[in-house]
Symmetry: C2
Subunit: 583 residues, 2 copies
Amino acid sequence: MYRTNTCGELNITNLGQQVTLCGWLQRSRDLGGLTFIDLRDRYGITQLAFNMETNPALCEQARKLGREYVLQVTGTVIERSSKNTKIPTGEIEIQVEKLTVLNESKVPPFTIEDQSDGGDDLRMKYRYLDIRRNPVKNNLILRHKMAMLVRNYLSQHDFLEIETPMLIKSTPEGARDFVVPSRMNPGEFYALPQSPQQYKQLLMVAGMDRYFQIVRCFRDEDLRADRQPEFTQIDCEMSFVEQEDVLQTFEGLAKHLFKEMKGIEFADFERISWHDAMRLYGSDKPDKRFGMEFVELNDVVKGHGFSLFENAPLVVGICASGCAEYTRRQLDELTDFVKRPQVGAGGLVYIKYNADGSFKSSVDKFYDQNALKAIADKFQAKPGDLMLILCGEPMKTRVQLCALRLEMGSRLGLRDSQKYAPLWVVDFPLLEWDDETQRFYAMHHPFTAPKPEDEALLDDQRRWGDIRANAYDIVINGVEVGGGSIRIHDRQLQNKMFHTLGFTDESAYAQFGFLMDAFTFGAPPHAGLAFGFDRLCSIFGGVDSIRDFIAFPKNNSGRDMMSGSPSPIAKEQLEELKIALKG
Amino acid sequence: MYRTNTCGELNITNLGQQVTLCGWLQRSRDLGGLTFIDLRDRYGITQLAFNMETNPALCEQARKLGREYVLQVTGTVIERSSKNTKIPTGEIEIQVEKLTVLNESKVPPFTIEDQSDGGDDLRMKYRYLDIRRNPVKNNLILRHKMAMLVRNYLSQHDFLEIETPMLIKSTPEGARDFVVPSRMNPGEFYALPQSPQQYKQLLMVAGMDRYFQIVRCFRDEDLRADRQPEFTQIDCEMSFVEQEDVLQTFEGLAKHLFKEMKGIEFADFERISWHDAMRLYGSDKPDKRFGMEFVELNDVVKGHGFSLFENAPLVVGICASGCAEYTRRQLDELTDFVKRPQVGAGGLVYIKYNADGSFKSSVDKFYDQNALKAIADKFQAKPGDLMLILCGEPMKTRVQLCALRLEMGSRLGLRDSQKYAPLWVVDFPLLEWDDETQRFYAMHHPFTAPKPEDEALLDDQRRWGDIRANAYDIVINGVEVGGGSIRIHDRQLQNKMFHTLGFTDESAYAQFGFLMDAFTFGAPPHAGLAFGFDRLCSIFGGVDSIRDFIAFPKNNSGRDMMSGSPSPIAKEQLEELKIALKG
């Protein structure tokens, strides 16, 4: 062993001990008679002291060392004269007796500090240096801890982690697969899994009862910010359970994580139906760290001659507490915000409830003080509040108002990353109408079961949009961190579902044949859920981006800037695979 | 919840309780007045009793159920009249009051019994039924337990599990990569990792200190029996350690697994140099469950006019205790065995040490009783023993004799799968001569460090074959279950190593550039090891094949017989990827 201790563990109780430490030179300070070096490893920083008087040769040597040199030092733990109470090792330093340079380092392209001077591109190119920085290092440690907690919790609850294949069959349904040409079977391809969905259902048919896997998944999508072509899921499936059992089980897991990672103990998570989530927050993943629920205003705004409201199927708003003093400029900003193409509203109506009890609005021409008071009452507004109102086609307007609500939440500091608001969204619609192709699609996937009480509606095409699924999402702070459903295990219901989705018997079999075959040999009732692990880690880390919770992420073009992958391959490789490049 | 209990937990202490169970119909017996059903789930089997007298309707219903039907039953736990002491639930049965068929099943293509009537192909095609069988199910449970033990042990020893990318850069060195065409970067490819070797070394440069990962790896090799295109490694790397630290750390892990999984406590593992392993067992992975060490005979066999021995650079044999009574036929079988092309020996010389003290050999013409006694003494043979001798070029002959030794070990029942003989093989050669290309290759990989005391030999090309590496394998029962090395962290030594391997500066950089770059920013001394997890599980399971420790394995053509992968993909997919199939 090159060392007796790490750089994070020595303190006043170790005084007088001879120790050997290894690490990287974080910083050195030459104070004339004394030279100090901060030696850093994964565990912390320990100050090294070199004395020009007592050991000039060693001190001279120390002065020549550059940042990020790898050092091994032997010396004695002594008390510091000027203590640093901010770090655990801050009361001691090492009086160095022996110094070995284990490796030199070029000057790093950015400083290895919590706040770095490296831009994103530089940080990604030299990710191995970026990881030396505390924020990134701590994210990876958090991720490890989360994974261990998840595995031990699920294992203690009789879940078995079972590895499913990475080289699987490509299916045209869903997002785009990454494919892998098979050299041994020319002209044929494997696909990388978008999720182990079919395999985990097969494991239920196999009687494995409670399965989980922390597993890499792949999706060849055009990458938006903060999407990665490979990502990690906590994938779970259970047999002989109803929705309540699944919710209880994974709420238990989430509570365990909050308790162990954050010291937060939650009572039961709130549950909200998809319908209510859309009605009250305009989103199937409401951020419930703050209220500001939607208030529908049709009954109080109509009949005043304001044609925009008269003609709108829905007039709906939010009440921002204490914002009546917003300036013209602030209100213009909000109007600009909702008019941005990403939000897409035509405009914004505001009503200020002034401190003196009077109202000021952008629609004073149509609404007198009494009319505005009626609206304010509907909002349960108080003097000092600001009401913001949108109108239009219901679903579109709700989604627009959702963006405005989140914007106001951010402006008012109501979206604290250290505060957590987990909830379940349940009763999703089973089917989703697609205007473009003029047909219904499965909102979750074709194996998701309808609610038993809604099953009969499958026989009435006009009611398909009303069928609710036994599907559920777990949402934390406005982010969907997991979701799942009760699966169909009855063949007749499955056939009906396929027909509803426009499959013929043949086309359904072509796509889902081996799973359908398996289901003829005694499929148990089963259900599952998958968490997005990268996202879950980022939420527990209190950071928006998932990228810093992945050791070696890819950029928005799917490229690893460090290794330069993807890259061309040799002609011989292409020939062996019996494929050619086109244009 | 569909059930109150599992089928594996009820016993005499539960008498009188009302319970609900779910599971699969394993077997039913119709005894006229009574019908019994064995209900099976992952946890065990519970007997259900239906009485024609007390509940004829239910009993009639029960009689119609087929094998593998999925049932839910509610009833009372009662004491069996005829008890089965072989299973934990064997003293009780359930007097069924309510029976629900949760799903029907077609007649399965093979029986769900420990000894199945399904051949390998059928078992693979219906793997989801195969997994219902105890042996396969138990293998997957064993695998889960092993993974949990490994993760918790390493985590408790400050190792962090860090996920490395699956879509990486292709390198021409080593085995063949599976590649993944990049749609977003046409003409370019990702590779699937053969191991996270470079990433784990980068994590050491990143200061992460102690890394592990249970990780899927991929190799596009022509598959031999029991090789899989995707396999799982326990991949580990440590910084600031010497070989002894690595050996202690992972010996600790192995001991922990033996203790927890098998209840076996080991003293320190034996260590043997590669050179001794080859000399005494003809293998770098000796099976030490039994002795039968090689005895070199040149000094006692030469000078007797037996030209085969006279001309052979090495005459070497083994002594099979108590086998002097082997018949002509048995000896012929052994001769045939060594002459098989897989072994490749020219023939076999035997010497029987008869119980009466006399000798009988296949070379009596050249060796009198005294000469045979001298050979026997060299073997330290006793009356009743059988000596088996091969001769020829040393390394080839040793490898042939290794095969014979293992064969004799098997014939004598000395290779008990429930007995464990772990050991370390150390001091591997750094470089391996390849006759075909007339150059040296890295035996492990180009980043493996030579032993410091052998470093100087790099300057003398004639001695390159003698350089020993700081590399080590962990071997259990004749199987290499893991291996690793101290890595080179010094740039000059690394350059010298690249030159030794025939790289120019440019060609080395083209292949290993980003790792070499990383090494200029303060690489710590580091070392690592990787276990083959599939193989490790199979050894702990006492089974030769790794296939039954993988939930969904592929066959020898890399094909998943269940899903039919790999398979052709749609023309549109190829077009999006800008690739075309050739011939």
